[in-house]
Amino acid sequence: MNETIRVERSSRASRLFAVFGFLLVGLLVAAPFFGNRSVLYLLVEIFVYIALASLWNLLAGYTGLVSIGQQAFVGLGGYSLFALTIFTGMPPLLAVLVAGPIAALFAIPTGFVVFRFKGAYFAIGSWVVAEVYRLTFAQVSVLGGGSGTSLPVEIVQHIANSRLERDSVIYWTGLGIAVGVLTVIYLILRSRWGLALTAIRDSEAAAESVGVDNYRTKFLIYFLTAGATGCIGALISLQKLRISPDAAFSVNDWTAFVIFIVVIGGIGRMEGPLIGTILFFILREFFADLGSWYLMFLGLFAIVMMLIMPKGIAGWLAERFELQIFPLGRRIILPRDKHISFSQFGTSAISKKRSPTKITDD
Amino acid sequence: MPFKLLETRGLMAFYGDFQALFGIDFQIEPGETIAVIGSNGAGKSTFLKSLVGLVRTKAETVSFDGQAIWGKPAYRIIAQGMSLVPEGRRLFPSLTVEENLSIGAYSRRKGPWNLDAVYTVFPVLKEKRILPGTALSGGQQQMVALGRALMANPKLLLCDEISLGLAPIVIREIYEQLERITANETTVILVEQDVKQAMAVADRVYCFREGRVVLEGRPSDLGREQITKAYFGV
């Protein structure tokens, strides 16, 4: 029995999932070669929601900023795309990338205003700002005003020559953005920043007392999230080939659904948005024709989840089976017969397992 | 067997997963004044909060006035006649002095205590009755807190460190009033850091250390060395 103490970051489960993940991404990259149009379209939608949900999770679940106004940046991204391609002739794919930083720039004055609020009032304040953007763009007639506009044919053809190529190109861009967003979030959470965020979320006062600059950290995350959301928003509008204020800045599509995905999937865990998105699309496949019943069901589902399973499915899995996919915890391996695990939300469970001692925190 | 107004057997208290009390056996008869002493963190405040239902507990029995009260919510226990003067006064900042006193009578128990009675014992409060509770000095706030607890006409009064943060002369005044108040059959448990003060007013003393009772008896029967040993555990 060795007496040294080791610190590990990944578990066997997470290593397995890493391999699985690589395989999956590889498969997805090859999809345009054997998938049809509607499958590609659906996959892009899934990538979009995985990315949006992961970003919202980073904001609310890790940084403690519950925003009901992220649709502002979805819309800003979309309108930036249209403005850039129509007025400057920028290649559409490049414009998708440039739309991100543009949305991020808008996040600066936006953040300055909404950060005057805390908690639930921050939530509503962020919504108000999103509404301001929506109403303002409805007045901008060069971009279609209240009824919106379509992407001019020349620009559509600029993306790629054939429809199939165009679909593939948009698809790969979507896949790239989703993978990129997940990677960046993972890196942030694994870094010192991730610790800072968890500290802020657990106790702002305590975090400040150990030197974390709450305001700056939160603002930075808000800024980055806005940029990524803008990118995604640009992609959404590109795929739709059309934009209108109500669609681009829709609370339902870009916030309500995202919130449900994260709440049901599991807030404050990276696995949550993934699980939630999959579940969401499965539900959509079966129930979406029921229209309002479907949304009523979603609303109720979210309420019930929050009451009985506040950490979502991912949280339940993590606590029940100590299952985690992303190696975001730290496991301390001691050469002694005790097994202590700390769940992400601070509750500890002392179990009397007699396996090689691991103290884990996730 | 003399009637026990309050009795606990094997009382354990928890803050989340952290255990603060490890099986307290305690009893008090009507009219008695018992002091609970012990150093910081010994579990004295936790004990009072456990009695009144503010802390999660496990116990063999907790009975008050002949009824089992373990697991009952705080507001029911108050309605049955227990009242707590909390540590740090904890007056309601949005309420005036008089409103703070009046709300003490929310459970509408019958008894000798009402606004006039409280003002008779603490005349200075009558002058300041329309001021917000927090505009008073520490000692006066303590009077309000005490008066507020009395307005519930309790059978058992619990006082948590009423001398904390007050000047000695103020402490003496408060304890004088307390003795006068408790002269008419109010049963009192007081948690007190000031051992001398506690021993002066108590019929019996319990000493807590690290969540357990380590000493119990009449002040006259307990020697100074005995108490120090129990208090500090040396």
């Binding site: 509503i124 304040g125 007045q139 | -």
Partner: protein, 287 residues
């Protein structure tokens, strides 16, 4: 632009907004709960009144006799069955639960009543005018709305500061733990607070329905108006909320005069401007 008339319209509209806001302000004060479904509950009241007046030939204002108690009971039940379980230090649960409720309500109303625009008909009250000096006129209905708002807020103040119940509500909002020591059943009192809040909401809903066309989707915007009125006026003071509502109303009517499409946007911009310059609002109550 007829400035005095516009201003008057704005002030009277502010009364409605203050009614929207009063219920929200109360429960935030008592239990720090921001009910995202607040606006949708206003709509629910309007639709309830619609149902009542469709089945009984009575005036919408008279339907309040039924709608107010119904909503109050609903509020009590909602609080005790759902919201009480979300109260605590974490802001997420109450926020997300009320968000879910908002989506549920909107779609339930949509399912039952369809998306058609509705209106409550108040008969001759809709056209009565009161003649004022300087050639101005004031609609009887907006005037009544404003008076009711003042009465409701006055009533709430009376309740909070002159009754034992109000004292208990203030105590609970100060310190929930110590309130229990007074013998207060917090769960019950929170339920009462929500019942009062929804009673006020129902009055707001009926006036909304009389004043303008309504449909299930306009709930969230009413929530935003309520929120803006509260923030402009300053947290913690109901009269401040009335002032906030008036300022918002005036901002909107001025905007509408310039261009009808600018009405809501004007309100938002004034709100944001005030927030930037004076984030504590105009009449904050310091705690």
């Amino acid at each position: 632009m007829d400035l005095p008339a516009t201003l008057l319209d704005g002030v009277l509209l502010g009364g409605l907004y203050a009614l929207f806001a009063a219920g929200l302000s109360l429960i935030f004060g008592v239990m720090r709960l921001v009910n995202i479904a607040h606006g949708d509950l206003i709509l629910l009241s309007a639709f309830l009144a619609l149902t009542v007046t469709t089945h009984f030939p009575i005036h919408p204002l008279l339907s309040l006799l039924l709608v107010v108690p119904l909503m109050a009971v609903l509020g009590y039940g909602l609080q005790r069955a759902v919201f009480n379980r979300t109260l605590g230090n974490d802001i997420l649960p109450p926020l997300l639960v009320s968000f879910g409720l908002s989506v549920f309500l909107q779609n339930a109303l949509l399912q039952i009543f369809r998306a058609d625009s509705q209106r409550l008909h108040a008969g001759p009250l809709e056209t009565w005018h009161i003649d004022l000096p300087f050639g101005m006129t004031m609609g009887a209905l907006p005037c009544l709305m404003f008076i009711v708002a003042v009465l409701v807020i006055g009533g709430l103040q009376l309740l909070l500061f002159r009754t034992a119940l109000g004292r208990a509500l203030r105590a609970v909002s100060d310190d929930g733990q110590i309130a229990q020591l007074m013998g207060i059943n917090n769960a019950h009192l929170y339920g009462v607070a929500m019942a009062i809040s929804l009673a006020v909401v129902s009055v707001a809903g009926v006036f909304l329905g009389i004043r303008a066309n309504f449909d299930p989707s306009i709930g969230p915007t009413r929530l935003i108006f309520a929120f803006e009125a509260i923030i402009i006026g300053g947290l913690g003071d109901l009269w401040g909320t009335l002032a906030g509502g008036v300022i918002l109303g005036v901002a909107q009517t001025l905007g509408a005069r310039i261009n009808p499409g600018y009405q809501i946007l004007a309100g938002h911009l004034v709100f944001l401007a005030i927030l930037t310059v004076r984030p504590q609002g105009f009449f904050p109550r310091s705690r």
